[in-house]
Symmetry: none
Subunit: 234 residues, 4 copies
DNA sequence: GATGAATGAGGATTCATTCAT
DNA sequence: TATGAATGAATCCTCATTCAT
């Protein structure tokens, strides 16, 4: 009870020891190679368990078991269950940024809306299909007992980005309106993703189209007010 | 679907079958009356706890406490936690049907789309604001560890109804398409409702408008293909 | 995690329900008869375990096991380990007051000091021999990680009483001095009791004499300053 | 009694026996030097943690962390938690002997009692203020779950010394009596020290005086029986 | 019907200790 | 030596559910 957690903050990764010299910086990394692998294992296991059970019902013991380690090992790397979710969110977010984020972050806002949506949603959908835990975490603190809002990086990072994009798209919109539209779009995308993930094959493709359609139709009038030439989708 | 008093422990003896003789029918009725009150109490408590904690984190003890009864009493009316959610769903659904369901069930599909949406969504929103647990249950078995799909009356009843309405609206659509569109619409309404419930006052009103807008714009083209004259919303 | 403890505050005993009418007050007591017994069992078990292991090392599971019940049962009556200690302290204190407290509370301060000490220490020693947990709890929050000071009824009640007695005995002493002397006397009595409890038979008797002697000699000069004729002990 | 580096894991090989040849003796000495430093670090950390948490609640991980080393390193020098306490006791005892022990060991028993007490208690108090862990360890195995009696060097060494001193002071006393008186005096000094350590400034000084007073008054009559002229304290 | 006691497996988390590097 | 990873039993405590009254 008194002494607090053994675990160092895991998010600092192998850079825990402040690189005194570039030559030495390899040394501590060696030591933590196993640990690094364990963290990856644990996060993967957590992703699986979170997907299967949801955050609340996921037990740290189950995560440890899934990762093939003892409960104690888990707590050597994470101080508690929430930290696992937070770190998992962080990793996924980073992976997202690394893989598809470039496109996502540097959008050509002169594109017609349908192409713009393709360039935003396609990577997002692909990434979610590959990392279903992302979708779970995207929902954030909607349901109480979940991750505290402030720590919910995935949800807030994406929401903010959506808002930014809309800001570029609709420069005349007032902030409050923008925020509302962003929330709405994000909410719709999230629930659309759920539908998409819940189906496979052609059905999944159809839902993808449907999601793009609904977002397109929602935004098209706003977009049109402001701007450019015609776009494909009806 | 209604599991309530029927599910009582089997040792209840001869009172199981109601009204064995007209003379005796007064006694059991009073008994049942008290039972109904208990059930109502418990369901109200459950609604509160489910809203505050989510289904998974809600404990039957907490529900009993909130209802001001002992855990044993709770289990006299419900065989397990899921049954509470199922019955709560059933009651809410029935209440929904009683209060706003008439409009909902007998829609004038000749109305312009925007008015149609008003007549569907306004009662639904009102009802959800008054019964926030409804929204919680509407989400159904999206997250694992929740209510098993087959028992999730609220979700499936509403989804089916949405499908029916769309069927009337778009008589030429193929079933698969219809089902998909219904799923999409329902998903969007659900997440819109979440946003609505999460805000108050003017902000809430604004989100209501936004929800109607997005659904309108999504359906308008389909609706137009099939049918009638112009409608207000852009 | 969210809903807090099931357990009602156990210290209120069977009077939990506010006696609406004297006739009804017997009813709820019936219900809790078993519980009352359990609480007694648990406290007795706790006394044993606390004595054998000390507060910190005592585990609630061990207490439950010693009481012959499951861990869950323990937590139906006590919200946590500290509450057990607090309640045990309370019960012992009350038992102390009921059995020997009368003498203790209404001292004839005109007695010669040695007799006064006999009349204070003899019951205290007897009581501690019969309830060795009392001594454990008397030590209170000396060691960190123990019971929080504010909740340590045994320690503070006795200390206050010692101060009161000394106040009557030495009416001219200043409060700060009084407090110091009381602390000292109490500390000495506590460690003397430990010695007494650690021995048996004649050895124990000898330590009892020794404890009385040291306290006597400590107080005699102060006492003499103020007051009365000679007393026996050298 | 010193368990420190001797207790290392047996796989240490030939370095076990020191100084096999003069040529090699430099190497191990440096090794030992580093080891001593580690041990000192660990013991200092242990002292801090023991003081803050008590022996039972102190965790070896916490000690290692406080010492800035890994748990593995700790176990390279100490086979288990108790050994740390034992060794800490040993070191403190030795430090005590080195710093104030000379006076303590070669008392001028012809001094008047009050001066004698000053010359014993003043260094003891000073040392305890500087090394609060000493007080913690002095209490030894009073509370079960603590250090096993046989290994409790601090407690027994001091007790024996108190007995010796009293033996010199009261040469006519019988051994059993002597032992009892020593136990009593030691117990009182220990609890007095606790009070002293729990206060600061003037209040601490006052408690110091009080402790000296109570011991003085306890011993004076015995001392007088045997011996010498009058002494200051009343 | 109603109560509150009882259960015991399971939850998160810690800890003394060991092991591989 | 030193590290940090690993362990698994044990910690406190909760929960869905059952039982005796």
């Amino acid at each position: 009870m008194p002494i607090g957690p053994e675990a160092r903050a895991p998010e600092q990764g192998p850079t825990g020891a402040p690189a005194e010299s570039p030559a030495r910086s390899a040394q501590p990394r060696r030591r933590q190679a196993r640990g690094e692998r364990r963290i990856a294992q644990l996060l993967e296991a957590a992703a699986g368990v979170f997907c299967r059970c949801g955050y609340t019902a996921a037990s740290t013991n189950a995560i440890a078991r899934e990762a093939g380690v003892s409960p104690g090992t888990l707590y050597q790397f994470f101080p508690n269950k929430e930290a696992i979710a937070v770190e998992l969110g962080g990793q996924l977010l980073q992976r997202w940024r690394e893989s598809h984020g470039a496109v996502f972050d540097m959008l050509d806002t002169t594109l017609p809306l349908d192409r713009l949506l393709d360039s935003v949603l396609d990577p997002l959908i692909t990434f979610n299909c590959e990392n279903p835990a992302f979708a779970v975490l995207m929902h954030g603190s909607e349901i109480p007992g979940r991750i505290s809002e402030e720590h919910d990086a995935v949800h807030s990072a994406l929401l903010i980005r959506v808002e930014q994009i809309l800001g570029e798209l609709l420069p005349t919109a007032r902030p409050a309106e923008l925020n509302r539209t962003a929330s709405m779009v994000f909410a719709v995308v999230k629930s659309g993703l759920e539908l998409i993930l819940a189906h496979e094959g052609e059905e999944r493709e159809a839902f993808i189209t449907e999601l793009k359609t609904i977002v397109y139709r929602y935004l098209a009038p706003l977009y049109a007010e402001v701007s450019r030439g015609a776009t494909r989708r009806p």
